[in-house]
């Protein structure tokens, strides 16, 4: 009897097996779909926004960096004195990049077109004498390199000697609200302190020694090549960089500038330079020369998958607004 009824049971189990197999098969297919969509999502998420745009943007960054270097080199070239000469220099560099860089880019499959658009002129105020203090020609320790300045960029100091006694050397932007950099210190260390209208912070470095000056790249936010948070942004996000909190046009001011020796350079737009400094290059004393503040150029890139057109502004060492 048991064998006979067993035949009936075996029939039921066949059906059960069938259902189990179908469920398993369906589960596998669903799993496969889930894995597949996960892979596809990851693939999509890591793709460029626009396929092929990376080459165009990368080359744009390359070109901008090159033009930046060209502007810096042009401004520091004492033989380029007039606006026309500086503009010709910028045009020349852009056309050389167009020809030389374009050749290499063409080999890689992209056609690049660069053309000069417009410029903004400014002044470069600097001192190249490493052993002189930072006073003006008439030896005023408290003086204004320029007044009524609209914009400023590429500010850097290279101090060979810092006298830490008494009031510290200060570099100030004054326009209602003030931004201030001061260089003070004790016997072995120097503090670079920044005060904005709402915050203050400082970076501490070793005192400069012979052959090892203290290099403060104010707009690049570094001291001796190392990042300095007090010149950029604090960990809580507070902005500290040059001119933070100063609106409209402003005056530049050096205070206690007889306490430090070294060189400096800055490029300004608008404003009137101090009458107590040389007009035209001078290797001994502070001077002001014509300079390119910024250059705008048209950039177009035709790649295999993307065509990019745009106008690019090059103003090396400009801090965010």
């Amino acid at each position: 009897m048991a064998h006979l009824s067993g035949a009936g049971e075996r029939g039921d189990r066949g059906q059960l097996l069938m259902i189990a197999v179908l469920v398993l098969a369906a589960a596998f297919i669903v799993l496969a779909l889930v894995i597949n969509s996960a892979i596809f999502t990851e693939n999509l998420a890591t793709r460029e926004d626009v396929a092929g745009s990376e080459e165009a943007l990368e080359y744009r960054a390359d070109v901008t960096a090159s033009i930046d270097a060209a502007i810096v080199a042009g401004n520091e070239d004492h033989e380029l004195a007039t606006d026309a000469e500086l503009e010709a220099h910028a045009r020349n560099e852009i056309s050389t990049l167009q020809n030389r860089g374009g050749l290499v880019q063409a080999i890689r499959g992209g056609v690049v077109d660069l053309s000069y658009d417009t410029k903004q002129m400014g002044d470069r105020i600097a001192q190249d004498n490493t052993s002189r203090n930072l006073t003006n020609d008439t030896a005023s320790a408290d003086w204004r390199p320029a007044t009524g300045v609209d914009e400023i960029r590429n500010v850097g100091f290279e101090l060979t000697e810092v006298d830490t006694r008494g009031e510290p050397f200060r570099f100030r932007l004054e326009g209602g609200d003030n931004w201030q950099l001061s260089v003070s210190g004790d016997s072995s260390e120097v503090a670079i302190k920044v005060d904005t209208p709402t915050a203050s912070a400082q970076c501490v470095r070793d005192e400069p020694t012979a052959g090892d000056p203290l290099t403060i790249d104010v707009t690049g936010a570094s001291v001796n090549g190392e990042p300095c948070h007090a010149l950029h942004r604090l960990s809580n996000g507070t902005q500290m960089w040059l001119g933070t909190g100063v609106s409209g046009s402003f005056d530049l001011r050096f205070q206690n500038s007889d306490r430090v020796n070294g060189t400096y350079s800055m490029v300004t737009r608008g404003g009137t330079p101090d009458t107590g400094i040389e007009s035209g290059y001078d290797s001994d004393e502070p001077y002001v020369v014509n300079a390119l503040y910024s250059v705008r150029f048209d950039y177009s890139y035709q790649g295999h998958a993307v065509a990019y057109n745009g106008t690019v502004l090059s103003a090396p060492g400009e801090v965010p607004p």
């Binding site: 069938m18 597949n36 020349n92």
Partner: protein, 198 residues
Amino acid sequence: MVDSRGQALSFEGIAAGIILLSAVGFALQVTAVTPLSPSTSSQHVENQIQSTSEGALDSAAERGVLADSVLYWNDSAGAFHDASPDVEHYQGVPSSGLAISDTLNRTFADRNVAYNLRIQYHTDEGLKTQQFVEQGRPSDHAVSASRMLVVHESDRLVEADGSEGPRLGDPGTGFFAPNLDNESLYNVLHVEVVAWRI
């Protein structure tokens, strides 16, 4: 009655088998090669090395280290400072005085990635190549990244100890790339990294 059910059961069994096998086969097909599968030929790894190379070049260029390295040239010997004997460039690990070697070693050496560095420059006859660092022959899945660098006549060569050397534009200063016929621009260099996994 019993005969016909046996046939049906057989068919069911075969059909179930086919479904099961095809489901397993499909699942295996889908998952066998993912972008994350560990393999030296994986596209994902190549993309990563490519991005890393670009990042290393960009960061070096931004800090001025790239220019200092390219200008680390001994103009009297006509070779990079402390370059391997008989060749002008570095073979294997570059001299520690080279500004970019730190960046490259930190980026690549710990990750089993080898790299070659070469510099393309312009001449009147067209593009020429100067080997810079040579670590071997790139494998089939090597990637490359490059960066343009403009050098000016006012740029200075870098001495072996890192101090400033002669100006590029001064007559008598030797450099691998010639001075292009232009006012203050010296040459347009293209620094290329070729990196591959070892």
